[in-house]
Each structure stands twice: as C-alpha cells, then as structure tokens.
Amino acid sequence: MQGLEITESKETFESWLAKGFVPEDLKDILSRASILIVPFENLRETPKPLFPIGTEDILRYFKENLPPGEIIDICISDEDYQEFAFYNDYKRLGNFVIKNVAIPVFVTIFSSYVYDKFINNDDSKPQIQIIDKSTRKEVNNHISTLTDKKYLEPTHITFTVTIVDSLGASKNIKYEGPAKGIDNVLQSLKKYEK
C-alpha cells in the first residue's frame, strides 16, 4: 500500500521508559499502559522531546473510548509536555507504542478518531467532479492534481505505531497518506494481533 512502511524495530515499552526524560515516579504508572503515546526526539534540534499539536485531543478521545482494563498514557511528565505545530501538509497524529494484545481496541478507536476528525469533515464538503468534455463522463482525476493545487487535496495524515509482542519483538508501522487509507493501514496491524 502506498505510504505504508513496515520495518523491524528495537523500540519497546522498556526502551521508552528508560529514557532520561521519564521520571522514576512515572515509570511504574506508564508500565501499566497498553498504549503509549511517545514523543519525537531531536526534532528541529530541540533538546526536549515534543508531541504534535492535537495530542491532547487524541489522548482524551482514547481515554473516553477505551474499555475498562485498557490504559493509555503519554511518555512524558506533565511539566515537560510541549507540543510542536508544523502547519503544513500532513496532519501529524503522533507516535504510538502498543502491546499486541491492545491491537483490536487501538484499531477501533484510532479508526473512529480519524473518521470523526478528518474523513467526515472532508466528505461533508462540496465535491468537484471533473468531466471529459467529449464523453460528458467523470474523469478519474482529483481537482488538486489537475490544478496542481495541493491545498485542495483531501486530508492527509501521518503516524507511526510500534507493536510489541509478548516476547519483546517489535514492528514499526509508518503511514503517510490520505486519511481515507486508514482502514487498510489498520488492517495491516491486525496480522500482528495475538
């Protein structure tokens, strides 16, 4: 699938909890989580770890929709939480580390977040159909491509998910592409479900 990259990873819950910016008293709390939002490090040479704008909203959405027993948390202390806002191209949804047992619930909630936040909004907008003048039939070309104006594109998103299995082996799934591709991306996560 275009925009999707699946690679081996060395990241685990333990490797994130061992980071210098995670205070001791937080490690125990974070170790109970099955989904962890982790920061970007060394972004634009910023010494502190950073989260994309909108992290507050995603965290709230997960907390509201997670079933009892599943915990999401964020890999930073309250005092050190800072966000970056790059007002361009892709909506950055962040980096997630999840235990493979939490894949089904992650897939359900993340997918519904992307629908609620982006796809439904895109779908509610008036659409421009391009026609072939001679046949009067619709042409399979988006207005953003034909006019070379990217701001007319439907919303694009980017995120990474690192799945950690019970033996500590990890896979990293990175997606950059149209929000509408979310279901196919999340399907690819499901094969790591156990």
Partner: protein, 287 residues
C-alpha cells in the same frame, strides 16, 4: 426575539437587506441572558446562529473585495469562512437549502480553485505553555480542565491560548494548515511587496456576476494541450500563457499535458454577453 423569528430572518438572509452586525448584536444580548440563567443548550443554539451570520458577513465582504480586485484580502476572508464552517459543522449539519450555507461553501471552494496561489509560508512553532479559553487554567496533559477544544461553553467555542511559544522555523509548503501566508515577491525597484499573480479567471467571473447571492457554479473539465491550440504562434513568439518565455521554451514543450478547463454556469443572463468566451490555462504549472 423568539426562536421562530430568528429562524425566519436567517432563512431570508440572502434575499432581505438588513444589517448582519445589528442582527448579531441582538443575538448576543439574547445569548448573554441564556448564559446568566445557565441555559447552555439555548446559548449554544444562539452561537450556531451567530456563526451562520458570521459566515454570511465574511462572504459578503469577500465578494465586495473581489469586486474591488483586492484579491489577497478576499482570499483571507475565504479562508476565514472555511475555518468558520469547520467550527460550525461540529454542531450543526445543514442541507443544501438551509440558510444558503451550502452555496457559500461551494462558492468558496470554486473561488479557491480559480485563485492562482500555490505556495505558502508555514510557521513551525514550539508551544511551551497554553491555557483554556473557558476557565483560564493552564493545560496539563494528564489532568485536563475538562473543557474540550471546539465545544461550546457559555455560548463560545473553546480553544487554547498559547501563553509561551518559540518559533522553530519557517517552511514553504503547498498545503498549509491555514492559507493566509501566500508567497509574494519583492519589487527590486521599490523594495516593496508586489502581487505577481494573474487573477484573470476571477476577473472574468466577476464581469458576469453582480451580487454575492447570485447563483453560479463552476464546471471543470480535463483537456489536453495540443498543437492546434497554437495555430498562429511562431516558435520564437512570446508564449501566450504569459510566462514571459519564448513559445518554444514554454508551452510548446507541454503539448500532451492535461490542463483544467473552466466554464461558469450562470442562472441568470450576465450583464455582458460574454458567455461564449472561455479562458484556457495552458498548463497547470504556468497558471
């Protein structure tokens, strides 16, 4: 003012002449009354009505600016309309016949298609601290104040106020988060900013329509550049696309490329008999 009266006025917002500002002020007073009585549902309803009025007000202003050929200012108004729609749609779904909203949204999109802008500045900001617009509390990632961005409290939309920030950088992008920061050139002679863009398509449209609520639409078709488009142009002539280059170094090399062809669909006959004229953009890259 009763709810039915407000709705009737909103239903006729595109056909009756009245001051939108005065209407919004009236609604503000009603809303403040609801907030005092903690009638959150009614206060939110008034916020919806006020946002509809704001959209109309911005749209009328954008139209007026386009008539005066103040294209960048109009562009910013169109962007503000798009943002207002985003906020409104979380709380109010409208159909094609309600309050002329669908037509405005379509017209904004049509106009954005016609604009020549493609490149924008984009700021990269580090937000160190922020607070809630409703309760003024500093935002803590784990213990939230409970107010959700985009929701309506006391008749106002909740947002975050950044109280400490740092600019990390600026980048040039084609698809910005907001579209205000259009790239303009500097005039080397005057040292001042100049508008290097061509707004022929919009000028053409505004020769045909007179009022913001006149019904019009845009039909886009895909065409291909062919040699027959340039019958009387010689290789060393200036390129007809206006790039300033010779034809042989410009559009002659683009034969076979796809380009958009626009036709304006009008519901009423235009002032000028221009309907049989069309404008062709030789390539997407040179428009």
């Amino acid at each position: 003012m009763k709810n039915e009266e407000i709705l009737e006025k909103l239903n006729n917002i595109h056909v009756q002449e009245f001051s939108l500002d005065d209407f919004s002020i009236q609604l503000q007073q009603i809303k403040e009354g609801f907030v005092k009585e903690d009638k959150q549902g009614q206060a939110k309803q008034i916020w919806i009505y006020q946002t509809i009025i704001e959209i109309h007000s911005l749209y009328k202003k954008a139209f007026e600016l386009l008539q005066r050929q103040l294209f960048y200012d109009a562009w910013c108004h169109l962007e503000r309309i798009e943002i207002a729609f985003q906020g409104l749609k979380k709380h109010f779904s409208f159909n094609k016949s309600q309050f002329y909203l669908w037509q405005i949204e379509k017209n904004v999109l049509n106009l954005q298609i016609l604009y020549p802008y493609k490149l924008f500045g984009s700021s990269e900001i580090l937000k160190k601290k922020k607070k809630c617009s409703v309760c003024d509390k500093e935002i803590s990632i784990r213990s939230s104040c409970g107010h959700i961005v985009g929701e309506i409290y006391n008749g106002e939309m909740c947002h975050r106020i950044v109280t400490e920030a740092e600019v990390l950088g600026l980048s040039l992008v084609q698809n910005p988060g907001n579209k205000y920061s259009v790239m303009f050139l500097n005039d080397p002679e005057t040292g001042k900013q100049k508008d290097q863009y061509s707004y022929d398509l919009i000028d053409f449209l505004f020769e045909l329509i007179e009022s913001p609520y006149e019904l019009w639409d845009l039909e886009v078709s895909q065409r291909e550049i062919s040699t027959s488009d340039f019958i009387n142009i010689k290789r060393n002539d200036s390129c007809p696309c206006g790039s300033g280059q010779k034809f042989k170094k410009c559009c002659l090399n683009k034969v076979g490329e796809k380009y958009p062809h626009y036709e304006f669909i009008l519901k009423k006959p235009p002032r000028k008999a221009l309907l049989n004229k069309t404008i062709k953009i030789p390539t997407a890259n040179s428009s």
